[in-house]
């Protein structure tokens, strides 16, 4: 029992999902949580997801996107190492609506790794309103990586987190898996007892040099 306690507490990277309600944040989280062989380890509900990525533990924080709760997002951003800003490729105004979140990210970690994600890629052929160029330009302006993805088809969803993992922990962290598909690379860490020491030794193939403490 204590093992479970230890395992569930330690998080290497806090990732916060931001974006208006309706752009598909929750769907993306869900897709990420369930679209792999490794079960998610959240015990309470779907709003928080804990996943292991090459021995690193990602805690994914969903936020309420309604306008009235937007300012509360600052609480959620506190200490975040990465932020996923979601807009809807089929809604032109959803991109610049993200401006409001940039200020809230001030409470995130310095150098918080940002990814701009265009959701609902599956609808893009018929209903695209945000062009790739416009999105890329915006991404550059906020110093973010840009990806388009679909929670429905699963396209690029894993890539979002791979990019984050690489962006934060470096390429070395990933070399354990040749094909880069995290779905097929269950963590070598014993899922029951993950503690710092374990984590490092488990991820040794990739990044022994990762300094800890």
């Amino acid at each position: 029992m204590a093992a479970a306690a230890a395992a569930s507490k330690h998080v290497d990277l806090k990732i916060v999902f931001l974006g208006a309600s309706g752009v598909g944040k929750t769907s993306l989280v869900q897709r990420y949580a369930n679209d792999t062989f490794e079960p998610t380890q959240s015990t309470i509900g779907a709003a928080f997801t804990l996943k292991t990525w090459h021995g690193r533990r990602f805690g994914v924080w969903d936020t309420a996107g309604q306008e009235r709760y937007k300012s509360l997002s600052a609480f959620y951003c506190r200490g975040a190492g990465a932020a996923i800003l979601v807009y809807d490729v089929t809604k032109a105004d959803s991109l610049h609506a993200l401006d409001a979140y940039m200020d809230l990210l001030a409470s995130a970690k310095d150098g918080c790794f940002k990814v701009l994600v265009g959701s609902k890629l599956d609808l893009a052929p018929d209903a695209r309103e945000v062009t790739l160029d416009a999105a890329r330009e915006y991404a550059t302006s906020i110093d973010a990586l840009h990806i388009e993805a679909s929670a429905k088809t699963g396209d690029n969803v894993m890539d979002i987190f791979n990019h984050i993992g690489v962006g934060v922990f470096g390429f070395d962290a990933m070399t354990a898996s040749a094909n880069g598909s995290p779905a097929s690379t269950p963590t070598p860490t014993a899922s029951t007892s993950t503690v710092r020491l374990d984590d490092d030794s488990a991820a040794k193939s990739g990044s022994d040099k990762k300094k800890c403490c």
Partner: protein, 740 residues
């Protein structure tokens, strides 16, 4: 003799109480009482004790100290395994004999006394039970409280001692009083008196005092009390919670399953076993010294968190290097770290909770008053909560879980209450929609639950958690849900009309109307909309709020509520919400009031509800029982040294123990039984969902008491071995062990 005089008389003269307070041999019993919040004393009135031998038999003591059922505070089991319950009208204590027959049950009881509450016995309606076993009852005279070992302990004052088959004092119980609990009992009790010779006199008295009308009423009512919750759930739901009970029950059981997989299980006992081991003496000594210093001279509030954290870190390093822990697995060591946090914070609670004293208490009161006003008119649709999610009974369950926060001292335990609350909410969401719910759906519902719970000391509890809970934990799942709670509170505290789907006029009118019906005082100016609004500030291009640390920003925002009068609007929709399940009926808490929470011992006046002073009488809704409310300021008889203060306590520590008694305000207040029962009826056994958790926590508490004693022995031994003498850390009965 007036009611309060009777209680005071008992408190000052009762032999049982006096023995508990003074006899060294009862130190561990007192320690159980002092450390385990959900215990009570059954105190037979003084005259009934006269025939009993002196000192009282140990078995007598054991039979009259009871653990309460976390899921139903009217049920109990004594230290020696005698199961019992209050009757439906709270006028009698019923005990079921024989206590323990099944060997498995005996075994389980020895391991975890509260496991007995899972027995069918406790879920069987009394009239059914009466056919199977013998039910004895003793009249309940008063519910009151005494201060023992520095802690306020609730007591049932009964007309006579409890008796059971084979107990040595049954022959002394000569006065009338032992009667059966339900009409059917009459048959069984009468038919078997010869086999229970020790009870022969009792049975005779039973026949004499039998009052069928009252007992029949009690038996009838029992059917719908949570004592038989599982039975009730299986049968057609009562009108009270008709449309919702099914879903509520379902989510309860679903949560129960989840509860067992809680990531936060902690084997506190294992840690204590390690800490108390003589070889870990240096670690223990370090902890002891820190706790002593902290309590003598608490650091300024803003430094407390830092101080505690760095101590915990350094102690953890010490432990890593210590032979006791150096060989343990990472998981075991993580457990030890958790245990250390819990141990230290439990010891420091009086100083570390509400370090700002009255200021903190006022902040809590202001928030509670504001939420109370909001609760008079805010409905789910104001928060865009879908109608299918408005499962009121489940929302109450969640609110109850949240309200339990105040019953625990360890930050981790408080956080578990938050998580349990969130689990219930996700169950509601799972029932209400086909797709998995995310934060968009979760947060509004949590806000609504916080509104309905209006739990005590929300600010202080949140501050305490964020200050003292391990940062590692706060970065993970529990941190996520804690952040949601803080957000919900912040939202409620600062919400603007537009955020509630209202116009400013509607909002102002509603807020103005909210406190008005208060009979005893003029309506207070409710709205505080002219106050700084951190939310809008955060929305604006140059927000300060987001970058402010959590605690600080909460504190700042707290000021916003200052002018919210402490006078609460009476209109709070339903009283059950703040009924504390984890505590027994005679709580110092009235739903809707803002009473001094248990943890405000050090500053009890601050939150005192004005109406709760002095002695009072109450009747339940049948009007057939009167509950006394002691005047808490007077006659706190058993002001023993606090278990934490110790025999060698320095004067600086003394206030800790004294603060709980002479200066305490309305602590002895009992809860209105009618309202409590309403709550019991309205919510089908709310604690089912977390019983596993609750049990494990209580096991922890109990372990603490037992381990403390062993620790002391080890310490003494070590001190005798010429180690420099130091003060005791945790001596509930120091005088006893020191002199022995």
């Amino acid at each position: 003799m007036s009611v309060s005089k009777f209680v005071e008389h008992e408190k000052s003269t009762n032999r049982f109480l006096r023995e508990l307070a003074t006899s060294p041999r009862l130190g561990d019993v007192v320690e159980v009482l002092a450390t385990d919040r959900a215990t009570m004393l059954i105190v037979p009135q003084g005259v009934s004790l006269e025939p009993l031998p002196t000192p009282l038999p140990v078995q007598f003591i054991q039979s009259h100290v009871v653990y309460l059922n976390p899921a139903n505070p009217s049920q109990f089991v004594s230290l020696n395994g005698l199961p019992g319950s209050l009757n439906a009208s709270y006028s009698e204590l019923l005990t079921f004999t024989p206590p323990l027959s099944d060997p498995d049950a005996v075994e389980a009881f020895a391991t975890d006394p509260r496991s007995v509450f899972a027995w069918p016995l406790y879920e069987t309606p009394l009239e059914v039970l009466a056919d199977q076993t013998e039910i004895l009852s003793v009249q309940l005279l008063r519910i009151a409280s005494v201060v023992l070992a520095g802690r306020e302990i609730d007591i049932y004052i009964t007309a006579h001692p409890l008796v059971f088959d084979g107990c040595s004092w049954a022959k002394h119980v000569v006065a009338p009083g032992v009667v059966a609990g339900a009409p059917d009992v009459r048959t069984s009790a009468v038919s078997s008196p010869r086999t229970h010779s020790a009870l022969a006199t009792s049975v005779a008295n039973f026949l004499r005092d039998f009052r069928p009308h009252k007992l029949a009423a009690a038996a009838l009512k029992t059917r719908s009390t949570p004592a038989s919750a599982s039975v009730a759930a299986a049968s057609p739901p009562s009108p009270d919670h008709d449309p919702l009970s099914a879903a509520g029950t379902e989510s309860a059981s679903a949560s129960s399953a989840l509860g067992s997989s809680t990531p936060t299980s902690l084997d506190f006992q294992a840690f204590l076993a390690q800490l108390q081991h003589p070889s870990a003496f240096e670690v223990f000594n370090t902890v002891k010294a820190f706790v002593g210093n902290f309590r003598r001279a608490p650091p300024p509030p803003r430094l407390m968190s830092e101080t505690v954290r760095s101590f915990l870190e350094s102690t953890a390093s010490l432990m890593v290097a210590h032979p006791m822990w150096s060989e343990t697995s990472p998981a075991e060591f993580a457990n030890a770290r958790e245990g250390l946090e819990k141990y230290v914070m439990t010891k420091l609670y009086a100083k570390a909770f509400r370090p700002g004293g009255d200021t903190d208490a006022e902040r809590d009161a202001a928030l509670a008053a504001h939420i109370k006003a909001l609760a008079t008119f805010l409905r789910p649709h104001h928060l865009d909560i879908k109608p299918e999610l408005c499962n009121e009974s489940a929302i109450k369950l969640a609110a109850n879980e949240l309200a339990k926060m105040s019953h625990y001292k360890a930050p981790r335990d408080k956080l578990v209450c938050v998580l349990n609350c969130c689990k219930v909410i996700f169950n509601i969401l799972a029932h209400g929609s086909s797709t998995p719910a995310g934060a968009d759906e979760f947060l509004p519902l949590l806000i609504y639950v916080v509104l309905r719970a209006n739990a005590r000391a929300m600010h202080s509890n949140c501050d305490y958690i964020s200050r003292f809970r391990s940062p590692v934990a706060l970065n993970g799942e529990s941190g996520y849900y804690f952040t949601n709670l803080v957000s919900a509170i912040t939202f409620l505290e600062n919400c603007k009309p537009s955020q509630l789907n209202m116009t400013a006029e509607e909002f102002d009118a509603a807020m103005a109307a909210a406190p008005a019906p208060s009979p005893s005082s003029a309506p207070r100016s409710p709205p505080r909309r002219q106050l700084p609004d951190p939310l809008s500030a955060a929305n604006s291009p140059a927000p300060d709020t987001p970058s402010v640390p959590l605690v600080t920003s909460l504190i700042d925002m707290g000021d916003a509520a200052d002018d919210a009068s402490a006078h609460p609007p009476p209109l709070i929709p339903s009283s059950p919400l703040s009924v504390p399940w984890a505590r027994p009926p005679p709580l110092d808490l009235q739903p809707g009031d803002n009473p001094p929470p248990a943890e405000t011992d050090a500053h009890p006046q601050a939150e005192a509800a004005p109406s709760a002073k002095g002695p009072r009488l109450r009747t339940d809704d049948e009007g057939n029982i009167i509950f006394a409310v002691d005047s808490p300021r007077t006659n706190k008889l058993f002001d023993m040294p606090s278990p934490t203060a110790g025999a060698t306590a320095s004067p600086a520590i003394a206030p800790t123990s004294t603060a709980t008694s002479p200066s305490a305000t309305p602590l002895g207040v009992t809860s209105p039984p009618g309202e409590l029962r309403a709550a019991l009826l309205a919510v089908a056994s709310p604690d089912e969902l977390t019983l596993a958790d609750v049990r494990s926590l209580w096991a922890d508490h109990r372990a603490l008491a037992a381990e403390n004693r062993r620790l002391k022995a080890a310490l003494l031994e070590a001190q005798l071995r010429a180690i420099q003498p130091r003060e005791e850390l945790a001596p509930a009965s120091d005088s006893g062990s020191a002199s022995s």
